[in-house]
Subunit: 277 residues, 2 copies
Amino acid sequence: MTTQQLYEQIQKKKSFLCIGLDVDLNKIPSHLLELEDPIFEFNKAIIDATHDLCVSYKPNTAFYEVYGIKGWQSLQKTINYINEKYPEIFTIADAKRGDIGNTSTMYAKAFFEDLQFDSVTVAPYMGKDSVEPFLAFENKHTILLALTSNEGAFDFQTKNVDGKELYKQVLETSKSWKNSENLMYVVGATKAEYFTEIRKIVPTSFLLVPGVGAQGGSLAEVCKYGLAENVGLLINSSRGIIYASNGTDFEEKAREEALKLQMEMETILVSSSKLKV
Amino acid sequence: MTTQQLYEQIQKKKSFLCIGLDVDLNKIPSHLLELEDPIFEFNKAIIDATHDLCVSYKPNTAFYEVYGIKGWQSLQKTINYINEKYPEIFTIADAKRGDIGNTSTMYAKAFFEDLQFDSVTVAPYMGKDSVEPFLAFENKHTILLALTSNEGAFDFQTKNVDGKELYKQVLETSKSWKNSENLMYVVGATKAEYFTEIRKIVPTSFLLVPGVGAQGGSLAEVCKYGLAENVGLLINSSRGIIYASNGTDFEEKAREEALKLQMEMETILVSSSKLKV
């Protein structure tokens, strides 16, 4: 998928919502546990109930790997289901991978070719030759960790490196890498005031923003500082939507929560004149 | 496995060799491709031929994920085979994971409990609360990326952060984390002269050292600056051993290459008085 196609979906759905499919067997409705693949059944129900309100789904691979081969099968079935039934959806493998050159190529193939995700999250610590192998795939996107939403972000990411915070160095430096037009960035919603500075470095790059809701970030604040001409934001919500209820009404409740966010986003898009007429 | 048990294995085998199981179907002997699980059969043969010469095996997860569910099955069979037949071996999942707290716990469970590896490599970019969930597992080890063996290491890792290179900040900071005694570190052999400074910060921590051989690092140089009282080094070789031949003699040739390294290590251990009498 191209970023232009993503932008068009945002316009059509009046939403820049990404739903995180971080599925924990201890948290899903108990009636699903009797089924053969509870994780896939849960995802399928959530996707069917919310696909018109969001532009992206983001399974975090940790929640699948923890169940071994069975978990990897649930992940495969989930991405296949989205790609077949809702091909307009922008899919993100939240995998936070990164390794030396030829090894990163293997990861890129795993997520872009074998599983057919549109994008994957990647850690920047190993530098250029660990990220460029991901960038080499056409119409695929590499979402580089810049400023994450957790406490530990202050351990290294905000430390001063040659006169500039490390996450800003990551943003700046990555712009010079080959095929950098395929880069997006993770920026946590818990640090909304940082978006002004970030937009000076990457004015129109898409930013994947976790941390709205459960982690305490504010949608309005993020948009105030982070909205770009092309919208340029994907706001992720996981637990707040998918675990809105753990009863038999979980799909409806998930839809209600997704709808609240979509409507808030529509209001923001209108008031900031970001909707095409 | 405890580090004391690892140390005893090093003494017994007079080796601190780790063999990287980075198995690429395009590089293994063609006669294996007819078998049902060529990757596992390749690993099994390599392991049987070299287990007395090394103290550790390190599959890199990228090389398994690229084959999807089938690859994950090969990984599972490989680790099971090692744990059942050679339980004295220290196993490393070279996965370079790391995420926010509860998600890192999922990764830790995937590698420590489901697959039953002794250790996993982890990226430090997201800081303390992304690493401590791994450290919470008793007698399991978290091998934190400090200074990697690739060119991109110079993009961020060696940059000056508040008067000290980032990789040194990572080493220093990580020492204050809970259960930090379960930490080991990745330090590339291609930068042997850095080991002196690193040993000032982590005098006895085990260092996993990639980059000897194919990537150009020298074993003698690494040992000169990096050997600790408790040896404290695991030197990884992957391609130089496992792809020594791609004919039907691949096990013998792999053994020959492993033996060369083991003998070199034995000489170094003797000359530096690191062998117990």
